[in-house]
Structure formats: C-alpha cells, structure tokens
C-alpha cells in the first residue's frame, strides 16, 4: 500500500476525471438524438456547444486527469513515497490544471467558446477560454515536473541502475508530452491570447493550425502510452507471468518519443500552405510508429501464449482458452486491445497521403477515434479503474461490482461496435463530421447516406444510447468503490496494484540515456518542420480578423 497522502492525490485526479466523464458522455447521448432529429434543443443551448463540451471533457479532461492519477499511484508504488516537494508540486499542478479546466468549461457553457476542441482560428472564442487552455497545459507541466523530480531523487539514490519499467514508461510519456505541448503553448500564448484580448488585430491562420497539429498528433500518443503501460506492466501480472521482454518494452517506448511528434502534417494533407514534399515526408515519419506498435502487438500475444500454456493450454491455439476470461481486469483490457486492431488499421488509411481525401473530415474520422481513444484507451482506463480505486480507498471490489463491471465492458463494446461501424460506413459514403441534423435540403445523395442497413441514424442512436447506459454503470461503480463499498479488512479482500516483474538483466543501459532520445527527437522535428514552418512564416499572407459565427 502506498502512502496515504499519495493516495489522496491520485484519488482527487481520478475523481475529477470521472466528473468530466459523466458530463462528457451525457453530451454524447444528446448528440446522437439531435443528429437524427429526435431532439430539439432549447434556444439557449446549441448543438456545437454540446459537441465542444463532449470533445474537451472526454478527450482532454477525462484522459489527462485519469493519466495523472495512474502515474502518481504507479510512481509512488514503484519508486517509493513522494517527498514533501514532489507532493506539493503535484498538488499545485492539480489545482492549476483544474482551474484551467473550469475556466474553459465555463466559457463553453456560457456560449463564448463554441469552437470545438480544435479551436481553429479565426473562430474567436473569449480570451478566457484560451487562458483556461493555457493554464490546463501549464498545470500538466507542473505535475509532470513533480514526477520527474521524484524520478531524479530515485536515480540519485540508485546510481547506475535502470529504473523500474513503470517509472521508465512514465518518464517517456512525460518527455513526449512536454515536447509536444510546445506547439500548442506557442500558438495559444503568442497568437490566440493577444488576438482574443484585442492586443493584436489579426492572426496567421495556417501557422496556428500547424502549431496546433504539432501538438495534436502526439496528444493521441499521450492517451495511448499510459494504456500501453497497462498492457506491458499490469496485464502480465494479472496473468501470473513476467514482462515478455524488458528491453523490447523500453525500446518501443523511446521510439514513440521519436516518431509521435514530427508528423502533424498528416492532419493537414488537404490544405494549402504546405508543399507536397513536406506532407509526404511527414507521412513517412508517421508510419514509423507502426514499428513500435508491431513490437507491442508481438509482446502482448507472446505474454498471452506464455500465460495460457502455463495454465495447461495445449496445441497451436489451446492456450487462448486458458486465459482468465472471468477476471474483469484482464477481459476489459483484452477487448480494448482487440478494438485497437481495426483502430490502428484505420489510422494507417487516414494518414495515407492521397487516400486521406476520401475520409478527411467525414464521419469516418469520428468512427476512427471512437475505436482508438474511445475504446482501446478508454476501456483500458476502465479496466484499471476496477482495481485502482479500491486499491487507493482500501475498499472491497465486491462480487456484485465484478458482475456489473463485466456488464459495463460488454455494453460499451456492443454500443461502440454499432456506433462506430455506422460512422465509418457513413463517412465512406461522404457524410461530413461535426454537423447537427441536416439533409442538405433533401439532396438525393445526402438522403442515400442514411438509407442503409447499418448506415442510418437509428443504428448510431441505439449505439450511443447503449454507450450512455454503460457509462452510467461505470459511474455507479466509481461512486461505490470510492465512497460506499465496505472497507477491506481481511487480507483476501484487499485489492492489489498488479505490477509485473520485469527482468532487466539483459537490458542495455543506453535505453535510459534520455539525452540520446531527446536529441534525436529534436533533430527529427527540425528535419520535418524547420523549412516548411519558416517558409510559412516568411511568406505569410495578411492575417485574419476574428469571427464569432455561433
């Protein structure tokens, strides 16, 4: 059991995450019913306001707070209790992040920021929305540096040793996050805030988009890497085996520092201001993350096979039936991984240069991120929640909770299969994303989109409703395990943090020489961005004034 103060810190982070989850999923439910014209919003509420809240609260707030709750717990568990300074800065980071969240959310609710979570200029929200976003990022940096400080203390006391795998992976994720945020901080602080408060008249739109996507793509790896940490470090322990290969796990993580950042142009493939050469170069760099992804897939299935055979599984696939399918901590994460197979394949399609034109900004993209961040990441976090909260509160995870957890995971899977399949197919037909109900004046081709067996408004609405039910079951589990379930007194009722052993004896030391990886990352960023970005700045058109079109 980790120190009481560290538990409190982690629980506050997780608590905020699930408040955001509650409001965010409610937004999702409203959206599917507005889109099929079954629900009329009152005049003071707008579809795009709900859409902004749904995106910001789930993709940014839920994920980030949960990730820090997970990191804090795991760092305290693997490196020892936090010192007073680390604890203080973790709290400062938490409150600054929360302040930013509250400011941005208040602006969305007030209708001053219906600009979606991508906030593309020259849509101009209230300046306080951008200040809120900046505080949010700065807060995560403070929390990040607190964890880095904790790690440095450990390194100083354990000279010449490799750090535990969990800590190594946390630091990798944090390094990537800090470098990635430089882009969004630059655009928000130097472009949006002066412009939104009227200190400057105009904004360079293409530059702001490019700086945003410098951040926007690694953001998805900031969600994914903590899920990968669960897959690498938590799953083997649940299965009763060791980490498949310590060096392989570390290598795949550092590759993400290198290849998740210099790739933002693949979100800008169909826009002007970037020449084809630089777009294609970043497409190539984008695909490099396939290598660590394949390494991860291999490690996972190797772990499953080793565990299944240990349990008496025979033959080519016999081990598969011997996995602990009744253990909700495992089954949830296994389903999450299964969703990532079509999710990752869809990502390859999206980034495939000219092929992007077929899917760009269609509902396909919405389907894509619901089976990447919306399931592989979110469901891994759910699978962690089932033991993480009881571990932190010292309460039981009762039989009825286990059953409910299973129901929750299964309903989420069914809802997501229905909704995301409909979205993918609708997108291929051409239906745009981010739209309220529209038949484009009953244009025949728009009518055709929604006329299929799976491609209709009903499938999406049924899927969305099942997902909402599932989300409410999860909220119930969270509330119970946080406040109401009976305390675990007997040792057999205590919920543990499953952290697998990892054999470091053959892991090369250079893997933990961060300057190598930061240096290479900076080099790749310079190669990918220096020339096109300076061209963009030097040949900038007159800037744009702000518009409030909502």
């Amino acid at each position: 059991m980790i120190a009481v103060q560290d538990r409190k810190l982690a629980l506050w982070n997780i608590g905020v995450a699930y408040v955001a989850f509650l409001i965010g999923t409610l937004g999702g439910l409203l959206q599917v019913f507005i889109r099929n014209d079954a629900l009329q919003l009152p005049a003071w509420l707008d579809y795009y306001q709900i859409l902004t809240a749904h995106g910001v609260l789930l993709a940014l707030i839920f994920t980030t707070f949960f990730i820090f709750g997970f990191f804090i717990t795991g760092m305290s568990k693997s490196l020892g209790s936090f010192g007073p300074k680390v604890r203080l800065f973790s709290w400062v980071g938490f409150w600054v992040t929360l302040l930013g969240t509250v400011m941005a959310t208040a602006m969305i609710i007030a209708g001053e920021a219906s600009v979606l979570y991508t906030f593309y200029a020259p849509l101009k929200a209230s300046g306080f929305y951008y200040v809120g976003l900046a505080l949010f990022i700065i807060g995560t940096w403070i929390s990040s540096f607190a964890l880095v400080g904790h790690y440095r203390v450990w390194r100083k006391n354990n000279k010449g040793q490799l750090s535990p795998l969990f800590a190594f992976m946390t630091i990798t994720t944090i390094i990537m996050w800090i470098i990635a945020c430089l882009g969004v901080v630059a655009t928000v602080v130097f472009q949006y805030i002066p412009w939104a408060f009227g200190w400057t008249d105009t904004i360079d739109v293409e530059l702001s988009r490019t700086l945003f996507w410098f951040f926007g793509h690694p953001l998805v790896y900031f969600w994914l890497l903590p899920a990968y940490m669960a897959w690498y470090v938590i799953v083997p322990k649940i299965l009763g085996v060791k980490v498949f290969s310590d060096s392989l796990a570390r290598l795949s993580f550092v590759l993400f520092i290198l290849f998740s950042i210099p790739v933002g142009f693949h979100h800008q493939l169909t826009e002007p201001g970037i020449s084809n050469f630089w777009k294609f170069l970043q497409v190539v760099l984008t695909f490099m993350v396939i290598v660590p992804s394949l390494m991860t897939a291999f490690s996972m299935f190797a772990t499953f096979e080793i565990a299944g055979r240990k349990n008496g599984g025979k033959g080519l696939f016999g081990w598969f039936t011997k996995l602990p399918w009744k253990d909700i901590r495992f089954t949830s994460i296994f389903i999450a991984m299964a969703f990532f197979i079509p999710g990752g394949a869809g990502g390859i399609i999206n980034a495939s240069f000219q092929l992007n034109e077929v899917v760009h900004n269609t509902l396909w993209i919405v389907g894509h991120f619901h089976i990447t961040v919306g399931t592989p990441v979110a469901m891994t976090f759910m699978g962690l929640t089932f033991w993480l909260i009881p571990y932190l509160t010292g309460r039981k995870f009762t039989k009825s909770m286990k059953v409910l957890g299973l129901v929750q995971i299964i309903t989420w899977s069914i809802g997501m299969v229905l909704m995301s399949t409909a979205q993918h197919l609708l997108g291929l037909l051409g239906a745009p994303r981010r739209t309220a109900y529209s038949g484009y004046n009953d244009h025949p081709s728009a009518m055709d989109w929604f006329d299929g067996l799976l491609t209709n408004h009903v499938t999406m609405a049924i899927g969305g409703s099942i997902l909402f039910v599932s989300a409410m079951i999860l909220i119930y589990i969270v509330v119970m395990t946080m406040f109401l379930s009976p305390k675990a007194v007997e040792p057999k009722d205590m919920v543990d943090f499953p952290m697998a052993e990892s054999d470091m004896s053959r892991t090369p030391k250079w893997l933990e020489n961060w300057w190598i990886w930061i240096g290479l990352a900076v080099l790749l960023i310079l190669i990918a961005y220096a020339i096109p970005l300076s061209h963009m700045i030097q040949h900038a058109p007159p800037g744009s004034e702000g518009f409030k079109t909502w």
């Binding site: 795009y48 979606l116 593309y120 200029a121 020259p122 849509l123 360079d204 739109v205 293409e206 988009r209 290969s245 060096s247 392989l248 800008q268 169909t270 826009e271 002007p272 201001g273 970037i274 020449s275 084809n276 777009k279 294609f280 497409v283 695909f287 396939i290 290598v291 394949l294 291999f298 190797a302 495939s352 240069f353 000219q354 092929l355 992007n356 034109e357 077929v358 760009h360 900004n361 269609t362 051409g430 745009p432 994303r433 981010r434 739209t435 309220a436 109900y437 484009y440 004046n441 244009h443 081709s445 728009a446 053959r506 040949h539 900038a540 058109p541 007159p542 744009s544 518009f547 079109t549």
Partner: protein
Amino acid sequence: MHLHKYEKIWLVFGIVSLIVFLSVVGVSAFSQGHTPAGGMDTIDPKKVNETAPFDNPGVTQLDDDTYQVAIVALAFGYTAPDLKVPVGKEIVFKVTSTDVVHSFTIDNTKVNMMVVPGRITTKSYTFEKPGTYLILCNEYCGTGHHMMYTEIEVYEE
C-alpha cells in the same frame, strides 16, 4: 539486445510491408500526380473580391480541355453562380475564404479541400459521370455549418 527469433521475422515482415506500402503511395503521388489538394498561393482575406480569379467567381474555360472554377467560401455558403462543367475535362478548382476555415467537398468525388483564409487551395479533377453533385462544407464553421452547401452540374457535351 536480445530479440526472439519469431519477433525478428515479425518485425522484418512488418518493415518490408511498410516500405512496399509507402513506395506505392509515393510513386502514385509523385509520378502519377495523385496528390491531395493544396497549393502555395496566398491572398489578402479582406481583398478577395477584388483579386483575380475571385473577382469573377464561377466557371472559366482556360483552353479546349481545361476549365477553371473559382469559388469563395464564407459563412454559410459559397459565392459561385451557376456551376456547370463538362464531363471528361480537367477542372481546376481554386477556393479561398473571406472569413473562417471551411471546406469545399464534392460528394462522390475525391475533391475534398480545406479552405483557409489567406490561402488559395487548388485541386484538379476530372468528372467521369454526368449528374448533379452535392457540394458541402465539412469543417466546422459556426451555427449554420450544416446548412452550408451548394451544387455543381456536370453535363455531357
């Protein structure tokens, strides 16, 4: 660093497929001209209506086989009078915006262009089938985003 034999096979297979795949995409892009919408031209977003070709939006025949279509996108529509183009000819679309970011997307085609104020997006496309095509905006641009559309008629000569 130790790698399992099967893992080596798996990674080599993955990396080779990656190289093949990227080569196919690259050759198709740069030797056959299958590149996405783009362009490096800039424009003053406040002077769009007095800058060529947007001072005269709509269809212009450039030569026997090429037509240019100049479009201005703005919240929530397109200033493009009466879009009619022939089937089987190269159509060069040039689009810009006078306000926020939009898209110019023609349903059932590969024309899917981001429209950024201050920039001119260009895409060349040849229609293979006649008909009336739906044009819509698929980048969020405000309250009326889902009402932003128009049509283009592709006729047989």
